[in-house]
């Protein structure tokens, strides 16, 4: 395969691997956040067990925001964004593929690491599995929504904080249903699949809509 989009995927992953930091930095950030929570809350295992899924979801969401501001900014600075608009490939598809590559390099390590860190939050195996599955299904939504924020702040030098302010409120639905799915896996009255289905719908809808919003912003602001 050597089509424009597959070569874009290979390029994005190669850059992420060479520069490094993206994925491992997120995992370390997650570990730090999860480690300090028991110090603040105290050694109450029941309480930790109850709030564990929520803490892991919030920590993953924040960790995903870390590298997101560079998603388009690096391309904007070095002129790649201009060239990416000259291809026969629509910019929307370019944005979609860049999101997928970004998700694979930064969110996927979190999806793998977060359930293991459930150990620090006294999570049962079923609950750890629930956290992993809910993050796997829900994290692409956060990447797609984040891409809109990254596109809106593409030309701002210190746009990271503004991006977080734009993106975090929009991630609330994913957070609600993600945590509720993770909680449902640990037991309770709600079946696991109900919130998970809503979460999957959020991911699919954001994957379908957000690339258009981000591409429109990049065309306007990337000049």
């Amino acid at each position: 395969m050597s089509g424009p989009l597959s070569s874009l995927v290979r390029r994005e992953i190669a850059i992420a691997r060479r520069i490094g930091g993206g994925g491992s930095m997120g995992v370390v950030f997650l570990l730090v956040l999860v480690t300090i929570v028991p110090f603040a809350i105290g050694p109450d295992l029941n309480l930790l067990r109850r709030i564990g899924p929520a803490i892991l979801w919030i920590a993953s969401l924040l960790a995903m925001l870390l590298g997101l501001d560079r998603l388009f900014q690096a391309d904007w600075e070095d002129g790649s964004l201009d060239q990416l608009q000259l291809g026969a490939t629509p910019l929307e598809a370019v944005v979609f593929v860049k999101c997928l590559a970004h998700w694979a390099t930064t969110a996927l390590p979190l999806v793998v690491a977060a359930p293991l860190m459930g150990l620090l939050m006294a999570q049962e195996p079923e609950s750890m599995l629930g956290i992993g599955v809910s993050l796997l299904v829900g994290s692409p939504a956060m990447t797609f929504i984040g891409a809109v924020g990254a596109a809106a702040t593409v030309s701002l030098r210190r746009g990271g904080l503004l991006m977080a302010l734009l993106v975090l409120p929009l991630c609330i639905p994913a957070l609600i249903f993600g945590v509720s799915a993770a909680n449902a896996a640990a037991g309770g009255t709600v079946p696991f699949l109900t919130p998970l289905a809503v979460l999957a719908a959020l991911t699919l809808a954001s994957g379908a809509l957000c690339p258009f919003a981000a591409a429109a912003l990049l065309r306007r602001l990337g000049e």
Partner: protein, 202 residues
Amino acid sequence: MRLKAQKLCIDRGGRRIVEGADFDLSDGQALIVAGPNGAGKSTLLRAIAGLLPIAAGALDLDGEAEDIASVLHYIGHAEGMKPALSVGENLAFWGAFLARDGKRGRSPADALGAFGLAHVLDIPAGYLSAGQKRRAALARLLVAPRPIWLLDEPTTALDVRSQGALGQVMAEHRAGGGMIMAATHSPLGLEGAGELRLGIAA
């Protein structure tokens, strides 16, 4: 192929930068965009590439207004080279991404060779000097064949020999029916090129 602009007007930040630019470019022709700093040369080239909106006027290719961006190359001030990737990887990517209908151009090594830069193929683009980076960006013109070249100050940071190499590459492109539109202050050695003079916008 024929690129034609009539009364092209381009705004930036609410100010009219280019007012009523006319030109007509067909196979093998070249056009120099001249004018003092701030006259709107870069703005005009970016608008033709579709990177800036056109406020008024008409720009069409063979009488049609669509898809001009995918038949042209734009070399701007930023090189579009990822510092973490080698020069060869950068060019191979642009060759694949900018290819039209799957038609590939020259190999990255060959394209770099045309600018006397074959030895940097495996070096990360971040280590290149300004002139080398510019030549690597110009090599992009050759890895994906496209008929229209928009060159914004292509000789910036180039030494005399590289300017000669660029002149030769441009002559070959025109001999093959390609078109060139260049914004420049220095002579590029484009024989029989037309000139579009932009004044300072009022």
